[in-house]
Amino acid sequence: MSIDTATVARIASLARLKVTEAELEAMVPELNGILAWVEQLGEVDVTGIEPMTAVIENALRLRADVIGADPLTGGGIRDQVLANAPAAEHGFFGVPKVIE
């Protein structure tokens, strides 16, 4: 698999990354190099092998439906949540106007 400049530009735009023309050109061979390296995995025959999801066989743990059982992952911390916001007014985040 190999990608061209247009594809890299599109990925950058989807990721909201601003990339100059020169950077784009430099990135194409770099990304292609990474893809080619990862593609070596294709040489391994995995017929009949279940995909591995974790090194230690394990299933997802379920949490009890309790508000703020772990204070680190509960709500009621508006000031902390808003602390890093470039703009915060009346308890809201303020962002540049986005409207359809």
Partner: protein, 498 residues
């Protein structure tokens, strides 16, 4: 199964509409899908946001078991296959209401597979107008935050309280062919979710929102290109979207245009949909398995417990009301429409059976009539809401029992309820003082007077104007202040008038 004959008349002939619905239903839970923040509606902005929901670095999602339980219960309730192995994927896009930059969803391995529900297309004929609509899948995902655009001249405000709340996305098959079918499907889905208790169904609070997929085609030809109208929040609006969007597509095609697969918004004020063009280039979500979450594996015992916890569902209940209680199909459908209605019906029926000692089959019709027609009439004329504090099951049961035992007439029961709700009267005393009489002697005396006073009408009646019979009954009841047993009055009048 009823076939839809809904057609759009174009200039070049008839068109058929094809509809599929993706319904987002907020899962009833105390805390969010992956964090311990609360989910209650209407809280102060950003007061129910955890560091996980705000996507602070280093935070990890931990799955809420109750949300999974509710999704599985919902799946079982629509007869769907439950996938004991499912997985969460990241759906990547940038928007101000999505701090993670991706929504955790289930694209490749949803928790619930195919099911179906049966909808009623004509309320007047619940037995004869059903259609089965397929459900393709149900998956669990995070809701996004809320944006407000009208509070500041240059900024949009973001409230993340809803961010991370659990949603079930219920995806139908493109099985619907008319606005009525689409509306009936959404209403039936809401009814099932409310019975199950997995979603409160409050559409005006956004607890249920539908994305409406619409395409048109010549009857029996392959599907046309569809559009998706987002976030439609009522049964009525879903029907309006289908109607206006199908019309737009037919006009477009007949004018030589082509329908573009796109996302649209519904404007209820103008009753039309319009394109959300700005989002078009973002439709590459680059899904991939969420590396923060292991696959979700359900034990058989978990699914069995979900199944055992389900209540009697709408179709089964409606059927039982008809067969075991002897109610009409219409009454059974009306009583089972809303959870509150059937709960009140069953509570009152049990109480009437206990107090009167009669079989439930003998009193079910009376209780049903009281709830569906007589009491609503009283509430309307009294200008009182159904949740008025004095409109208790006990008060209603006392009146129904009094009527079913022949103590008071049905008409009196309504009068007494109205007086009880609007004035300071004692129910038991009112019932006692309005006892109807079956004393034939007393009733005969009044009838004799009524007939004597209306000799002209008696002549007309005997000359063939039989409609006057009701007049004599009414006059007799009036003369006895409503306290005569109407059945006895009828019998005696028939005898006298021959």
């Amino acid at each position: 199964m009823a076939m839809s004959n809904y057609r759009i008349q174009g200039e070049t002939g008839e068109w058929e509409v094809v509809i599929g619905l993706e319904v987002h239903a907020q899962v009833t839970s105390q805390s969010k899908l992956f964090s311990g923040a609360a989910t209650a509606f209407g809280a102060e902005p950003n007061s129910q946001v955890s560091l996980v929901d705000a996507a602070m670095p280093g935070m990890l999602p931990v799955l809420n078991g109750e949300c999974i339980r509710q999704a599985v219960r919902t799946g079982i309730a629509v007869g769907a296959q439950i996938n004991k192995w499912s997985r969460f994927d990241r759906k990547n896009y940038f928007y101000a209401d999505l701090p993670q930059g991706y929504q955790i969803s289930q694209l490749y391995h949803p928790i619930v597979g195919e099911g179906e529900i049966e909808v009623i297309l004509d309320d007047k004929d619940p037995e004869g107008s059903t259609k089965t609509i397929g459900i393709e899948r149900i998956h669990v995902e995070q809701d996004a935050g809320k944006l407000m655009h009208d509070q500041h001249p240059t900024m949009s405000y973001v409230d993340l309280n809803r961010s991370g709340v659990a949603l079930m996305e219920i995806v139908s098959r493109p099985d619907m062919r008319s606005p009525i079918e689409a509306g009936a499907y959404l209403a039936k889905l809401r009814q099932i979710l409310r019975y199950v208790g997995s979603c409160d169904g409050n559409m005006d609070q956004g607890s249920m929102r539908a994305d409406v997929n619409v395409s048109v085609r010549r009857p029996s030809e392959p599907f046309g290109t569809r559009t998706e109208t987002k976030n439609v929040n009522s049964v009525r609006f879903v029907m309006a979207v289908v109607e206006s969007e199908a019309r737009r597509q037919v006009d477009l095609i007949e004018d030589g245009g082509t329908v573009v697969q796109e996302t649209r918004l519904y404007d209820p004020d103008k009753n039309e949909t319009r394109s959300m063009r700005s989002k078009e280039d973002a439709h590459d979500y680059r899904y991939f398995p969420d590396p923060d979450l292991l696959p979700l594996v359900l034990a058989d015992s978990f699914v069995d417990e979900c199944r055992a916890s389900l209540p009697e569902l709408p179709d089964a209940k409606r059927h039982r009301y008809e067969t075991a209680l002897g109610l009409s199909a219409y009454d059974a459908a009306q009583l089972t429409l809303e959870v509150e209605t059937y709960q009140q019906f069953e509570e009152m029926l049990a109480a009437v059976v206990a107090e009167s000692g009669k079989d439930q089959r003998d009193v079910a019709k009376r209780v049903a009539n009281w709830i569906l027609s007589e009491r609503p009439g009283v509430l309307r004329s009294a200008g009182v809401a159904v949740d008025h504090p004095k409109n208790t099951p006990a008060a209603n049961v006392a009146l129904i029992v009094a009527v079913s035992e022949g103590v008071i007439s049905g008409g009196k029961a309504k009068e007494i309820l109205q007086a009880y709700l609007t004035t300071d009267t004692d129910l038991t005393a009112e019932i006692a003082s309005n006892k109807q009489t079956s004393d034939t002697g007393a009733i005969e005396a009044v009838i004799a007077k009524v007939l004597a006073d209306n000799a002209d009408k008696v002549e007309q009646y005997k000359a063939g104007k039989e409609a006057l019979f009701g007049f004599f009954v009414g006059q007799t009841m009036k003369a006895m202040q409503g306290k005569a047993n109407p059945a006895v009055v009828n019998d005696l009048l028939k005898k006298v008038l021959g």
